[in-house]
């Protein structure tokens, strides 16, 4: 996978698979600190210390459809290749925090990629989940809360044609502003 946005989608998917009802996704890009940080926190079923120790291995998975898990080992590998790290903190019954850190300027660092596409996909998948997004680029911030969106929508789903178009435009505008571009 050559986009961090795909790894991010994958990490949040793990939270949903773990039965989380709340997920917080934070991204920080900072040139001064030369860092790109991705932190995903959930209140899902969590893992024991033993499970956490194994989760970087492809042969650890709670899947029944396939004998290897691919998500976490891939992220572990790309962070290590880019002068960063993957930190995993988890408590059974409480939840999990995964933090992937990259050197922003590292030549092998995959681009963040299509974060708007990832967010739209996540919103479709987290219809019943309270999902919070905070993305900071050199001090500028974009925040989004699925609960606030849902409150405004009062039961109309994210996959409604007009809502989807609105969301697409909303994200386009906000990412443009986040990266210092002109707004419409």
């Amino acid at each position: 996978m050559h986009e961090l946005a795909l790894h991010i989608l994958d990490m949040v998917q793990n939270c949903l698979d773990a039965g989380a009802s709340e997920v917080v996704l934070e991204i920080v890009e900072d040139q001064a600190d030369d860092v790109l940080l991705i932190r995903v926190s959930d209140n899902g079923r969590g893992m024991t210390a033993e499970q956490v120790a194994q989760v970087r291995s492809p042969f650890y998975t709670s899947r029944t459809t396939r004998r290897v898990g691919l998500g976490v080992p891939l992220i572990d590998m790309t962070t290590a290749q880019c002068g960063g790290h993957l930190k995993i903190e988890s408590r059974p019954g409480k939840g999990t925090v995964m933090e992937a850190c990259y050197r922003l300027s590292h030549i092998d660092r995959p681009p963040l990629g299509d974060m708007a596409g990832t967010l739209k996909t996540l919103l479709i998948g987290s219809q019943d989940v309270d999902f919070t997004y905070r993305h900071t680029v050199d001090g500028r911030q974009f925040a989004l809360s699925s609960r606030e969106l849902q409150e405004a929508l009062a039961g109309v789903p994210f996959y409604d044609p007009e809502v989807w178009e609105w969301l697409s435009g909303y994200l386009r505008e906000n990412f443009c502003r986040l990266y210092g571009g002109a707004t419409e």
Binding site: Q13, I124, A154, P161, E165
Partner: protein, 121 residues
């Protein structure tokens, strides 16, 4: 800049025009495990949604699921309609995704080239 206030107004407009769906006659389910994501499931889902939005289809429910164990055929997309066999499509590129909406959902013609499973219950 668009704001949540605009979204609320849009929703009120939809509700006033009775445009809000009453539940879907068609369900589209996209596999979103690591294997699916790596093969392009995000692009497939977003292409399906863009096509639904373009055609203003209001009776389609779109959902996600995890890996179902046919990783080599990802991205996988299921179309479920009442009283019909559940169709699983494989290798769903954005182009195939748009075709599934235009042909299967709108015109009732199954996209045979990409069918990997049919399930009748």
């Amino acid at each position: 800049m668009k704001s949540l206030e605009d979204l609320k107004k849009l929703r009120e407009k939809l509700q006033a025009g009775n445009a809000v769906r009453q539940g879907g006659s068609t369900q589209i389910i996209v596999g979103m495990g690591t294997c699916g994501i790596a093969a392009g499931a995000r692009e497939a889902l977003n292409a399906i949604m863009d096509e639904i939005a373009k055609r203003k289809l209001r009776d389609v429910v779109v959902r996600q699921t995890g890996c179902i164990g046919m990783c080599e055929k990802e991205p996988l997309v299921d179309v479920v309609r009442e009283g019909e066999a559940r169709i699983t499509y494989g290798h769903v590129t954005p182009e195939v995704a748009r075709k599934i909406v235009a042909e299967h959902v709108v015109n009732d013609r199954i996209v045979d080239e990409n069918v990997v499973a049919k399930l009748t219950d």
